[in-house]
């Protein structure tokens, strides 16, 4: 076999096509429509936010500057794609990528590395959506030739950014393993990523009688503490919540501190919701579904965390935000509390209704919250309507719990 075995390159391309088709088929029609609708709305938001400033720029400085601005926007997206691909690929290589025991197969390293990088960087394809919105926003403002040229250039550049990101991800993963060793870089990384035997013992548990939801809550705590990704997710929510409290001490005008504290409180709530979705994803389907736990138990166990998080956030802000007038403080606490509960409940709903597809639930949560933020920027307070609609819509799907099956 040569360094670039054409047969293997062809086989990996065919595999990538089949995987893409299968993943698309796994999304039911309603979810596909929802994803497309939300992507369209976000595109609309980017379009609107780009077109007006671009028009002003072209009127003030001419079309050449406008073309440069569009190119800069696309370049920023390419950098984001590259960064996303690199970080995601490094993380997946460290955890052990999906698929068969790659090292047990007679594979040439180059196509294998390219395939794994392509799998990791598929996430970056989502950035094509805002790029399309930026290009659409430039139509009629900058010369059509420039728009077409930028569009034609973007597709291969995005592929290039994904490839470069994949290479950087491999280098990052290589830096985390002991130096030396035999074989190509991808083989060395995969050899270390393979499960390592590490004998350790855990403290004996207390056998106690408790309701099912409480048993789940206790189990959630243990699993979060011991699983790196879940622990990081929970800690991140906590860190941002603390940052939202710290905002009250910033050396800035009170309205600005008020705004930052509120914004960070919402981000903390979103991160808490993301952790709740990840918790749902950590439940093994066959284990949970064969135990006598009903919808109330599963939903309640996770909603307790959402409510506790919101309560902690509101209480700590009530203690810290002393400079606000009583009326302003009341409004702040009610709004941030309601938003935190709403976002948390949305996370719980998505985690339960899309179980065991935590990846899909996380995407839906991100898109719903992104849409709510975009709506609020376009029309003040309309984000609340979006959030409420998403909660009600996901709540209507909760009875599906009794009919769920592993996809």
């Amino acid at each position: 076999m040569s360094v670039t075995d054409p047969a293997q390159v062809h086989a990996f391309r065919a595999l990538a096509r089949r995987l893409a088709r299968r993943r698309l088929r796994q999304l039911d029609l309603r979810v596909r429509i929802e994803l497309a609708a939300i992507a369209l709305l976000i595109d609309g938001f980017v379009f609107w936010q780009t077109r007006v400033p671009l028009d002003g720029l072209v009127r003030a400085h001419g079309p050449a500057v406008g073309v440069l601005a569009v190119a800069a926007g696309l370049a920023a997206l390419l950098i984001a794609a590259l960064t996303l691909a690199a970080l995601h690929h490094a993380r997946r290589l460290e955890a052990g990528p999906r698929g068969p025991e790659w090292l047990a197969l007679p594979l040439v390293p180059a196509p294998l590395a390219a395939h794994l990088a392509g799998e990791s960087s598929a996430l970056a394809l989502w950035l094509a959506a805002p790029a399309a919105a930026i290009l659409a926003a430039s139509i009629g403002i900058v010369p059509v030739v420039a728009t077409v040229a930028l569009a034609l250039a973007f597709a291969p550049l995005l592929a290039g950014a994904r490839a470069v990101g994949g290479s950087i991800g491999l280098v990052l993963a290589l830096r985390r393993i002991p130096a030396g060793g035999r074989g190509a870089p991808i083989e060395r990384v995969l050899a270390v990523a393979a499960p390592r035997a590490r004998r350790r013992r855990l403290p004996r548990p207390a056998w106690r009688r408790m309701p099912a939801w409480r048993a789940l809550v206790e189990k959630d705590l243990r699993v979060t503490w011991r699983r790196g990704a879940l622990r990081r997710s929970a800690l991140m929510a906590l860190v941002v919540a603390v940052a939202s409290l710290a905002a009250w001490w910033l050396p800035a005008e009170l309205p600005l501190r008020h705004f930052i504290a509120f914004g960070l409180a919402l981000v903390a709530a979103a991160l808490l919701a993301q952790w709740l979705v990840a918790l749902s994803g950590s439940d093994p389907f066959d284990t949970l579904r064969t135990l006598p736990i009903g919808l109330g138990g599963v939903w309640g166990a996770r909603a307790v965390w959402a409510l506790a998080g919101a309560l902690l956030l509101v209480t700590s802000h009530a203690l810290v935000a002393r400079e606000l007038s009583p009326h302003a403080l009341e409004i702040f606490l009610v709004w941030s509390g309601l938003a935190a509960v709403g976002i948390g409940v949305l996370g719980v709903n998505y985690g339960v209704t899309l179980f065991p597809r935590a990846d899909l639930a996380e995407r839906m949560l991100g898109l719903s919250l992104g849409l709510a933020v975009a709506a609020s920027i376009m029309i003040p307070l309309s984000g609340w309507i979006v959030l409420l609609t998403a909660i009600l819509h996901s709540a209507r799907r909760l009875p599906r719990w009794s009919r769920l099956e592993a996809s």
Binding site: P203, V223, T287, T290
Partner: protein
């Protein structure tokens, strides 16, 4: 009847996995399920366990309709999976304590039973280790313990003893027999005809998602009591008694 399955149908696209399967298991009966790969054994067991809804048909567990009252039915079910999944970060004992709490078992009694089962199956001394450190056989044993911990009226075993060492398999078979003697209805799927012959009172042969034949013990005769010669050799090596 403790388990009643009526006209169960399930398709995967064009593939018919279950084509009108009906069966009944009485209290204290061990029903074997034999069939080639793809015959529908695992689909049947997963459907009866409530892991996937059928296209048509009903499942009644100890008088409770599985699809009308899934939580009530799962209280009465135990399921030892072919490929069990766990909370990998929990120790085996933490996992069993969680299962016992969710099932509302008496904590002390459940703890004692879990310890006794772990000892009998050869897991003693390893139950404080995270499940992610367990071998395939140890995972299957843990799944078996979790399935029988509450002495369920209906027990579903999907290739449950595959991966067990000889001592563990013997202990598990003894436990299954003891449960059956207490009144548990057992649906036991396996590729190993020898295990089915020794353990089961009746056998259904599945073929292409249908019950092709039904046999009772008279069809294959009474098995030799106690362990086989090879099992005796293994037990002697391990220093385990065969009683």
């Amino acid at each position: 009847m403790t388990l009643r399955v009526a006209d169960l149908r399930r398709r995967y696209g064009a593939i018919v996995a279950l084509d009108g399967v009906s069966l009944e298991i009485r209290r204290g009966e061990v029903l074997g399920l034999l069939g080639a790969n793809g015959a529908g054994k695992s689909t049947l067991l997963r459907t009866v366990a409530g892991l996937q809804p059928p296209d048509e048909g009903t499942v009644t567990v100890d008088g409770v309709d599985l699809f009308a009252d899934p939580v009530g039915a799962r209280r009465r079910l135990g399921y030892a999976a072919e490929e069990p999944s766990f909370y990998e970060e929990l120790s085996a004992e933490e996992y069993l304590a969680f299962v016992a709490a969710v099932r509302g078992l008496d904590p002390e009694a459940a703890k004692a039973r879990a310890a006794a089962l772990a000892d009998a199956l050869g897991l003693a001394g390893r139950t404080d280790e995270p499940v992610q450190q367990f071998s395939h056989g140890m995972r299957k044993k843990l799944s078996f313990i979790a399935a029988v911990l509450h002495r369920p009226p209906v027990l579903l075993c999907d290739e449950a003893l595959e991966g067990f060492d000889a001592g563990g398999a013997l202990a598990a078979k003894r436990e299954l027999r003891a449960l059956a003697d207490e009144g548990t209805a057992v649906l036991f799927s396996s590729h190993v005809t020898e295990t089915i012959e020794r353990l089961c009172d009746r056998v259904l042969l599945l073929r292409r998602g249908r019950v092709a034949r039904e046999l009772d013990r008279s069809a294959w005769g009474a098995p030799a009591p106690g362990p086989s010669p090879l099992e005796r050799e293994f037990l002697a090596l391990e220093g385990t008694t065969s009683t």
